[in-house]
Subunit: 334 residues, 2 copies
DNA sequence: TTGAAAGCGCTAACAC
DNA sequence: GTGTTAGCGCTTTCAA
C-alpha cells in the first residue's frame, strides 16, 4: 500500500509549489492559470492523493466534527434523535462522533474528555446529571455545548428541553377521563430529572383531581428492555391492582405489556397503558400504544441548529418542546 | 473563553521543556523526577490544559477513529450493530464516526472520502453495492476495511456475512411444516445482495418442496417504516391471497401486520407471518413475531475484532454467520 | 499568478 | 532526568 501521498508529492510531480497546490485544493477563487490547474489535477489523479485534514486542522484550528453523547443507542428514541442530528450536520458538512454513555457518569466524563482532545467544534449531550464543572470546562474551551432533555444550570449552553411534567399530566388526565381511578406509574430508576418530572406530573394530576390512589413502582436496573417485564412482575405482586398504567417510556411500556399479556392480563380490557416518547414502532404494536409524543428527530435537528447559532456567536437559548397525547388502542374506557 | 492552552504554556509555567511535559503526558514509564511531575501537574490544572490530539496525530500519523457507514439508523437492526461496534471500540480506546448513507451511493461515496481525509484507522461499512474502485481506494490507503452483510469481491477486506439464503429457507420450511401452501414474500426493493439472497432461499425452498404457488410483492421505496403498510395494501389487492407471509425484515413485517390487522385480517389466525432480523422489540410485539435471528450486536463486535486484526497485519478473513429460527406467536398451523 | 517560509501542537531522536 | 530541535501536512502572509 505504500505511504500516503502528501501535498509535497503532488507539488513535485506537478512542478509547482505546495502553496499553489493548496490554493488549488481550497478552490476559493484564488486565480490559478488553467495550465497549472491541469497539471495539478493530473498529479493528484496519478497519486490518488487525498488531502490530510489533520494537517489543515492543526493549521487552521477548525474541526468539522460534532460529538454526540447519548445514554444508549438501544432505545429507539435516540436513533431518531441522532437521525435528526446527522441530517442537519451533513448539510453543513459536519461529521458525528457518536458515544454511548451507558448512563455511566465516568464513561461520560471520559468521552467528554476524549472529544475535547479531538477538538470537536461542538458537543450535544443527553446527560445523566448536572455536572456543572464538566460543562463549564467544555464551554470554557470554546466548544459549543447543547444539552438535551435535562435542564442545565449554566449560561452559554443551548438546551432543547421537553415538558415532561406536562406530558405526564396529560397522560393521567386522559386516563382519568376514561374513568380510571387507580393508576400506577412504572419507572426505571428515578435519577434523571426528566423522570422525576414525569413523576411530578403524575402526582400533580392525581392531586388536582382528588384521586388518592397512587402507586409508584420503580426498578433498580437501567436496562429498559428487561425492565418492563420486571416491573410487570413487581406490579402483579401488589394486592390492590391498578386499572391503568403510565410507563416512564415506550420501551418499558412494551416490556410491561408483554409480561402482562403472557400472564393473562388483557390490554386494554383489563388494564390500560400509556407510554412515553412515541417512538416509531409504537403505532405498530398490537394493540397500538397510547403515548405521549416527544419529537425525537426534531430534537436532534434543533440541537444542531442551536449548536451552529452558538458557534456563530449568537446568544444561546433554551427551547421547551411541548408534549402531545397520542391516543391509540392500549387505553380504554373503564 | 480565551485561547486554549498548549503544551508550550504548560512547559513555561512549570519551568520545564515541552519534551518533559510531553513525556509526562504520555505516561509511558519514562523517568521524571517526582518534583518535576508535580509542577507539571500543577501547571496543567492551573491552565485546565487538554492535550490537542490533532498535533499528536499529525506527528505520529496514528488516529483513533473508526468510520462506520450504515444505511439508516432508523431500522433498529443497525443501532444494535453499532452498539456492538461501539462497545468493542471503546474497550480499545477508539471512537466512532457515524454516517448514514441513506442507501444513496453518492452520499456513501462522499462519506467514504471525508472519512479517508479525516484519517480514520478503519472503516466498517454496510454497503449498498459492490463498488470495487471505492473499496480498493480505501484499502490502498492503508485503511482497514470491513464489510457487513454484503459480500465484496476484493481481498484484504474483512467481511462479516450472513447466510440470508439459508435463513429464508428455514423460514419457508417452518411455514410449510405448519401446513401452509401459499406463501408470499414481501420485500423492499430487491437491490441489495442480501435481499436477493432471501429471495433465492424462498424460491429454492418452495421448489425443493414442490410448491408451485409463489408470490413476490415488491415495493419501490426504501422507507421500511411505511413499506410494510404499502406492501400489505398491495397484497390485499391480489385475488389469490396467501395464508402465510415472509417479510424481508422485521420492520417491514410490523408494517404489514399493522396494516392487515387494521383491515380485519387476523394474525396468525388468518395469515401467518415470519420476519427477518429478530430485532429486540420483535419479542415484545403482540403477537410476538416469529422471525429469523441475525445476530446484530455480535456482527458489530466481530467487525471491530476483524478490523483490529487487519490493522495488526493479520490476514483478513470472512465470517459467515448462520441464521436461527425463532418461533413465536405470529405463525400458526393451518 | 506563483513561491518561500513560518508555524499550528505535538513526538521522538539525539545530546547532554 | 531533562532540553533542543526537526518535522508531521497543511494554510497563509508576504514578496516577487
Amino acid at each position: 500500500m505504500g505511504k500516503k501521498a502528501t501535498i509535497n508529492d503532488v507539488a513535485k510531480i506537478a512542478n509547482v509549489s505546495i502553496a499553489t497546490v493548496s490554493r488549488y485544493l481550497s478552490n476559493n477563487g484564488y486565480p490559478i492559470k488553467e495550465q497549472t490547474k491541469k497539471s495539478i489535477k493530473n498529479a493528484i489523479l496519478q497519486l490518488s492523493y487525498t488531502p490530510n485534514i489533520v494537517g489543515r486542522m492543526l493549521k487552521t484550528n477548525k474541526s468539522m466534527d460534532i460529538g454526540v453523547i447519548i445514554p444508549t443507542i438501544l432505545n429507539p428514541y435516540y436513533p431518531a434523535v441522532i437521525y435528526g442530528i446527522e441530517k442537519k450536520a451533513y448539510e453543513k458538512g459536519y461529521n458525528i462522533l457518536l458515544c454511548n454513555s451507558q448512563r455511566d457518569a465516568n464513561r461520560q466524563k471520559q468521552y467528554v474528555n476524549t472529544l475535547i482532545q479531538k477538538q470537536v467544534k461542538g458537543l450535544i449531550i443527553s446527560s445523566i446529571g448536572d455536572d456543572f464543572l464538566l460543562y463549564s470546562d467544555i464551554v470554557s474551551k470554546g466548544i459549543a455545548l447543547v444539552s438535551l432533555e435535562d435542564e442545565i444550570s449554566l449560561d452559554k449552553v443551548g438546551q432543547v428541553l421537553f415538558n415532561y411534567e406536562k406530558g405526564a399530566y396529560m397522560a393521567i388526565s386522559h386516563l382519568l377521563k376514561l374513568g380510571h381511578k387507580k393508576i400506577a406509574f412504572l419507572t426505571s430508576p428515578l435519577v434523571r430529572k426528566s423522570r422525576k418530572d414525569i413523576l411530578k406530573g403524575y402526582i400533580k394530576c392525581l392531586k388536582d383531581n382528588n384521586v388518592t390512589y397512587n402507586k409508584v413502582v420503580e426498578i433498580n436496573e437501567e436496562n429498559e428492555y428487561e425492565n418492563g417485564a420486571l416491573l410487570g412482575a413487581k406490579l402483579l405482586l401488589e394486592d390492590d391492582l391498578p386499572t391503568a398504567i403510565l410507563a416512564v417510556n415506550d420501551m418499558v411500556a412494551y416490556g410491561v405489556m408483554q409480561y402482562l399479556t403472557q400472564n393473562k392480563v388483557k390490554i386494554p380490557e383489563d388494564i390500560s397503558i400509556v407510554g412515553f416518547d412515541d417512538i416509531k414502532i409504537s403505532k405498530m404494536m398490537n394493540p397500538a400504544l397510547t403515548t405521549i409524543s416527544q419529537p425525537s428527530q426534531k430534537t436532534g435537528e434543533l440541537a444542531v441548529s442551536m449548536l451552529f447559532d452558538i458557534l456563530e456567536g449568537k446568544e444561546s437559548k433554551k427551547i421547551l418542546l411541548e408534549p402531545e397525547l397520542i391516543i391509540r388502542a392500549s387505553t380504554k374506557k373503564i
